[in-house]
């Protein structure tokens, strides 16, 4: 141990340097987000609760009933029933159910959809007291489209 080291240690140089760093943090801004009171920004590509989009003018559902999302879904949580369309040669969507308790929020359904009908929204506070709330029907999914990103809705 050289003389320089001895002087450095006896004057607590490095300890004082360290304490000035923590002292800076002591007076500096705090990074805590007090969650229930305030929320962090949810990024645009965040994969939250699903929504089915419908045409804002005609009110008709965008889904063409191709079953691609049902096919690609790795946890098989989508269930779709269609019938021959009575109107304008399109299939009619009778049932469109998502079982959220099985969904892994991978976003494949959104990626594979040719009509941009099923999308994922930034809604992420999904805790509930009733397991039944995890079973999303077509009506619930359509109602959730108010939370979808605006550029996804044709207008």
């Amino acid at each position: 141990m050289g003389l320089k080291d001895i002087i450095k240690k006896s004057a607590f140089v490095e300890i004082i340097q360290g304490m000035s760093v923590t002292g800076g943090y002591f007076v500096g801004p705090k990074v805590t987000v007090e969650y229930p009171k305030e929320h962090v920004t949810v990024w645009p590509r965040y994969r939250g609760l699903h929504a089915l989009l419908s045409d804002p003018d005609t009110g008709r559902i965008n889904c063409s009933g191709c079953h691609l999302c049902e096919t690609i879904c790795p946890s098989q949580c989508i269930y779709i029933e269609t019938s021959e369309g009575a109107v304008d040669n399109r299939k009619h969507i009778d049932t469109f159910d998502i079982d959220l308790s099985r969904c892994i929020f991978c976003g494949f359904c959104e990626e594979v959809c040719p009509c941009a009908a099923i999308v994922m929204t930034p809604v992420h506070e999904l805790a509930t007291y009733d397991k039944g709330d995890f079973f999303l029907t077509k009506e619930k999914l359509l109602a959730n489209q108010v939370n979808a990103h605006k550029e996804l809705i044709k207008g």
Binding site: I15, M19, T22, Y25, F26, P29, K30, V31, T32, E34
Partner: protein, 335 residues
């Protein structure tokens, strides 16, 4: 009769202040720990989370009090009390005002025990407090507890030596072991306080007191990463709470002693500020020292065991002896 009544009032008040301070010191420790890490600390219980400690206390009291089957039961139950009772006793030695002060027409000594061998008493009580940790480590009959107790015992033996020697410098300067007289020796402005002529002794005593209080960076006895919780591993509920409580009581007492020995005790830093009661100055100094303890704890990582021993025996002990020799020569030449 009135003497005894005053003694009783002083004792109750001083202990009440000490006990009342502890929950808030624990709260401040958690709050400041947050601040030092860019967090907020407790915010929910009460305004700014100030009632957090009381919530913790209620929680600890409602927990099950476990005693391991294989523990040495009487010693196991005794250990937490041995840790904090000496702390309270040492508080009696700290003067919080002048002797023979005139209050409502009575002559009152603002110290509970104006004791001629006060410093020796303090050192003796400090050594007894260690037994609490050693007993807890032994009586738990658990590997980690035993290792923690052993480490604390070894640490204490190494650091009390330099601590005691550092104090001899102050004793020589004040020419007394009585804490009230040591404070009297520091009267005047702040450059008469002993921390300037005795800066070496102050640094040694302060660092050794961190080791004695078992706080980071010298918290080898309860090193979480190695020993679970050291001597407290087998304790639960309020018995564990008593350990925590004792640690913080000892912290208040140690800060009070350092303030008395090196920072003029209840004296104001400037003579023109003496209209402020001495009690407030003493509390301000105690809080400043406690804040320094917290700042150091949340900055420095834990020392390795051999480094701890190296610092104690190879650095502080020779330094303390050198300081003692130099002080003795200077004091004898000046007088």
């Amino acid at each position: 009769m009135s003497d005894f009544a005053f003694l009783l009032i002083k004792a109750i008040l001083w202990v009440a202040v000490g006990v009342g301070m502890v929950p808030f010191i624990i709260y401040f420790e958690r709050k400041f720990a947050g601040f030092f890490q860019s967090r907020m600390g407790p915010t929910y219980a009460g305004p700014w989370g100030a009632l957090q400690s009381f919530g913790d206390m209620a929680k600890l009291l409602s927990k099950e009090d476990l005693t391991p089957d294989w523990a040495d039961k009487p010693v196991f139950r005794l250990a937490p009390y041995i840790l904090f009772v000496p702390g309270f006793l040492a508080m009696a030695l700290v003067p919080f005002g002048a002797l023979g002060k005139d209050i409502f027409g009575y002559q009152v000594d603002l110290v509970i025990a104006d004791f001629d061998a006060g410093l020796i008493m303090f050192l003796a009580l400090g050594s007894i407090a260690v037994y609490g940790i050693v007993f807890a480590g032994w009586a738990s009959n658990n590997h980690w507890s035993l290792l923690g107790g052993l480490r604390q015992g070894a640490q204490m033996v190494s650091y009390e030596l330099s601590m005691g020697l550092a104090l001899v410098g102050v004793i020589l300067m004040a020419n007394s072991l009585n804490l009230s007289e040591i404070v009297q020796g520091q009267s005047g402005n702040f450059w008469n306080w002993y921390f300037i002529p005795q800066i070496v002794a102050f640094v040694i005593f302060f660092v050794a007191s961190i080791a004695e209080l078992n706080r980071a960076p010298f918290d080898l006895a309860e090193a979480e990463q190695e020993l679970v919780a050291g001597h407290m591993t087998e304790y639960s509920g309020m018995r564990w709470g008593l350990f925590m409580f004792g640690e913080y009581v000892n912290m208040v007492v140690m800060s009070a002693i350092i303030a008395t020995l090196f920072f003029g005790g209840y004296k104001a830093p400037f003579t023109f500020l003496e209209f402020v009661p001495g009690f407030i100055w003493l509390l301000a100094k105690i809080f400043f020292l406690i804040f320094m303890y917290m700042w150091i704890r949340w900055t420095l990582p834990r020392y390795r065991y051999n480094q701890l021993m190296d610092i104690g025996w190879k650095v502080f002990l020779p330094l303390a002896i050198a300081n003692l020799a130099v002080t003795a020569i200077i004091v004898s030449v000046v007088q």
